[in-house]
Amino acid sequence: RLTQVRWSRYNPSFLEPEVNKELYQKPWEELSEEEKEKLELKAVRPIKAAPPTVSSSVFSDPMISKFTNMMMKDGNKVLARSLMAQTLEAIKRKQLEKYHKAPEDEKETIECNPYVIFHQALKNCQPIIGLSSITRGGKTYQVPVPLKDNRRRFLAMKWLITECRENKHRRTLMPEKLSQELLQAFNNEGPIIKKKHVLHKTAEANRAYAHFRWW
């Protein structure tokens, strides 16, 4: 059995804070059984402090914060946040351009909200199945393995960022390239979607080794 090397300054009995305002406005009768139990537990246990990246305003989004943190280099959060803001602005501008140029009947199909585009693009990039290297009898096989939700989100974001950092022309700035990639992913085109399909195909090809997985 392994002991934990990672520890935290909080006592293990502390629970995670819930920042969303709407959950607190629900009257008691509307809650389901599990939520009532959770509420009772929360009333007794101490709760951790809310982290400084999280806020109850409409503008704070957990996915966007996670993406900003992954883009950050050497702890320069100011720069990462400004890049993110410029990316969202660029997406909005491009979509508005398209909106104003489009004929009447197509105007409703064009999505202008950059947050919706961001979420949808990330969802389109997430792989369903991944490969894991397992060594048996000296040889390493690539075994197809189902991925957990947070692993999928992480892979999608990681691919986006590496794609934007490496495969771009020297003069293009990050927001421009990122907005381009996000719009392409939103329409299910682009190099990241291709990478996802390639991963799915290799997983399908390696189906024979699937029985090596023991978890």
Partner: protein
């Protein structure tokens, strides 16, 4: 040689005399044991050091001494409590020592002499308990008992389903109780346990509790659970104060890492925030910090209704913002109903963040980073 012995003595170890075996050897040999090697509290390290008669004698002496002490202090011997004893001893034997354990104390012998197990074998050398040779007899017998209870509950459940009675599910209040900690269990069993043993036992208890007919074994389970008082978090909320113009205000203090902040929140305001005499837009140019300052107000839907004047020192940009956030949340408690205070607490606005910079350790480059590994 003498210096080494002196150094070793200062470490606080204990010297005990030992007679090596054999009828011919007449010399005594000094054995040194450090405090690290000595085991704490738990008996069963060997034959009893404190016999029952010894402890009874100590208890009688303690009670006599208590009466003498009460007479000396001029108080009634019948109603002389432990706190009175502590006060009397502190008065009669004043000590400037730092460690409370090093000062003279007079306590009931059961608190001073740790509980020890009696000798577990008879005169012929045969042990009494059938699990003696496992080494942890009380732990294994406890596991066997608990498992037996589990099997009984399952049998009862099967009987009920055979008679087509649906087992009733009464949810016990999980929120108010916790299991015994490993140390408490060790004290109960008078045996050393490993982490693995402890977690196995807790798993068994959890399994017993999750079964729907576990209510039968309620009494047994209660032996191993403790109440967690729900009144822990009741902090007194200060009432509103009023300044010369008649405007209500309240103060709050907050801290984060090394930053310390005080905030004064005024009612009937326009939402202006001043930090150290400087407007908030100039003091916190970064959007994230201003978001954090406004977080408590936004959570309570009171953005344009309050004015705030704060002072902050120490820490960095983000730490100061977090400190002011905590201070303003604490100040806002006086303006708001109890339910909303509870919502704020559950949102994490009223907890002091205990995370501080971890110290650098010797032999490593930083707190966690080790030096580069070189093969040669």
């Amino acid at each position: 040689m003498a210096a080494a012995v002196g150094r070793v003595l200062r470490l606080g170890g204990r010297w005990s005399a030992a007679v090596p075996g054999g009828p011919r050897a007449q010399t005594l040999r000094l054995i040194y044991t450090t405090t690290a090697v000595q085991r704490k509290n738990v008996g069963a390290s060997g034959p009893e050091k404190y016999t029952e008669e010894f402890i009874k004698k100590q208890i009688e002496e303690f009670n006599l001494g208590k009466r003498h002490l009460a007479n000396m202090m001029g108080e009634d011997p019948e109603t002389f409590t432990q706190e009175d004893i502590d006060r009397a001893i502190a008065y009669l034997f004043p000590s400037g020592l730092f460690d409370k354990q090093a000062r003279p104390m007079m306590k009931h012998p059961t608190e001073i002499f740790p509980e020890q197990r009696k000798i577990q074998w008879g005169e012929d050398g045969r042990p009494f308990h059938f699990l003696f040779y496992t080494g942890k007899q009380s732990y294994y017998s406890l596991m066997h008992e608990t498992y037996e209870k589990l099997l009984n509950v399952e049998k009862y459940q099967d009987q009920l389903t055979a008679q087509d009675f649906s087992p009733h599910k009464e949810k016990r209040n999980l929120a108010g109780s916790r299991w015994l900690t490993k140390i408490e269990l060790e004290e109960m069993l008078l045996e050393k346990l490993s982490d693995n043993d402890y977690s196995r036992f807790i798993q068994l208890l959890e399994k017993l509790m999750t079964l729907s007919c576990g209510d039968i074994q309620d009494k047994y389970i209660q032996k191993f659970s403790k109440e967690v008082p729900a009144q822990l978090q009741k902090v007194a909320i200060e009432p509103l104060q009023y300044d010369e113009r008649g405007v209500a205000f309240s103060t709050g203090k907050g801290a984060r890492k090394t930053a310390r902040a005080t905030a004064v929140v005024y009612d009937n305001g326009t939402g202006r925030i001043t930090v150290n005499g400087i407007d908030v837009l100039h003091y916190f140019p970064v959007l994230q910090d201003r978001e954090q300052l406004l977080f408590p107000f936004q959570f309570l839907n009171r953005i344009g209704k309050h004015d705030m004047v704060c002072t902050v020192s120490g820490g960095g940009r983000s730490a100061q913002a977090g400190a002011i956030r905590l201070a303003s949340a604490k100040a806002l408690r006086s303006f708001v109903t109890e339910k909303e205070v509870e919502f704020m607490r559950q949102a994490g606005l009223l907890t002091l963040d205990p995370r501080v910079k971890e110290r650098k350790k010797p032999g490593q480059e930083g707190a966690r980073r080790k030096f580069t590994w070189k093969k040669r």
